[in-house]
């Protein structure tokens, strides 16, 4: 990694940060397409990748701790899930304002640019739009009364409050079994969505966190919806009702079909 050059190029006040670790899914393919989409719609905003390098990124950080021992059920099999590096986003990001994105989030518009313009230092989605059932709702975290925040799109500005949030997030990951018991969530799968939700509530002294919410829902396709194709501004999807097209930014859970479509 050429750190010297990257830091020069990326002395920018805003940018995207993606984490890329290949597993049974070739996440590099997804990341490359995610970057392509971002660069088409927001050409002035740099994108850096942490983890396995991706050619079309503006910078790559390879010295990222991978966290090997988390697993998730994909289909009907438990497979390695390298999702925990994102807690390092604050220290890794070269930007003042960063949006950390999952590589399975495909931008088909410049909607995310609004988050950079907004002064709110920390923002995440809370409501989700289920594309299959056409419903908008919040997800409760375990058996608690807390609404889950999604770590899929995480915008932050570097400041003391946000640094504290990342410290709390790290602490939740280190003490996962304790928090899993406390909130009645699975001890066996460490989910960033839950970890950021707990950290955010701690940051706000367990008060209302709605000021940290991205005001529109995250548009998400479930596993049973497959991706048939992808253009710069459209995603072609398929489920048991047939083919349909979406023209908004989309978080795609069926990664296998997304990989094929990329």
């Amino acid at each position: 990694m050429n750190m010297q050059r990257n830091i020069k190029v990326l002395s920018h006040d805003r940018g995207f940060l993606l984490f890329n670790h290949n597993s049974h899914i070739n996440y590099s393919t997804l990341a490359a397409r995610c970057i392509e989409q971002l660069k088409h719609h927001m050409p002035d905003i740099p994108v850096v990748v942490a983890g396995f390098p991706v050619m079309n990124a503006d910078g790559n950080y390879v010295n990222v701790k991978k966290f090997e021992n988390n697993r998730k059920v994909f289909g009907n099999q438990a497979k390695p899930w390298h999702n925990l590096s994102r807690v390092q986003a604050y220290e890794l990001s070269p930007f003042e304002n960063t949006i950390v994105l999952d590589t399975d989030y495909m931008a088909t518009s410049n909607a995310l640019e609004k988050l950079f313009d907004c002064d709110q230092p920390l923002q995440m989605h809370r409501a989700w739009y289920d594309i299959r059932n056409t419903t908008v709702e919040n997800i409760r975290m375990g058996k608690s009364e807390l609404d889950m925040f999604w770590a899929t799109v995480l915008k932050f500005r570097k400041c003391d409050q946000v640094a504290k949030f990342f410290t709390l997030w790290q602490s939740v990951l280190h003490n996962w079994k304790y928090y899993a018991d406390l909130y009645y969530i699975s001890k066996h799968i460490v989910r960033n969505d839950f970890a950021v939700t707990i950290a955010l509530h701690q940051l706000n002294n367990h008060n209302d966190c709605s000021h940290c919410e991205i005001p529109w829902p995250i548009h998400t396709t479930r596993d049973m919806i497959s991706v048939q194709g992808l253009t710069r501004d459209k995603i072609f999807l398929f489920d048991n009702h047939g083919q349909f097209t979406v023209k908004f930014d989309c978080h795609i859970l069926n990664k296998e079909s997304l990989q094929d479509a990329c």
Partner: protein, 87 residues
């Protein structure tokens, strides 16, 4: 019928996300309520944005124009797409 309903819901979602705009670091939904509210505020009034942050509106006319422009943009998109869905 299912397809029609789904396509209209997808359109509605798309337009809902598009309605948001940023002014002086605050974020608002350019809906009918905000446009109407603009008629009741004056320069340098403080109003609350979507994230519950107080933001001073230095120039109400500019703010209103931005909101209206965003609102119209979304409605035009909606009308165009609606036509293609129902015909």
């Amino acid at each position: 019928m299912f397809e029609l309903k789904r396509n209209l819901s997808l359109l509605d979602q798309r337009c809902n996300a598009l309605k948001y705009f940023v002014y002086e670091g605050g974020m608002w939904c350019a809906d009918e309520k905000l446009l109407s509210y603009c008629g009741h505020i004056k320069n340098n009034d403080v109003i609350i944005d979507s994230n519950k942050n107080p933001v001073m509106i230095k120039n109400v006319k500019e703010f209103y124009n931005k909101a209206l422009q965003q609102h119209q943009l979304v409605l035009n998109e909606y009308a165009e797409e609606y036509k293609s869905i129902v015909t």
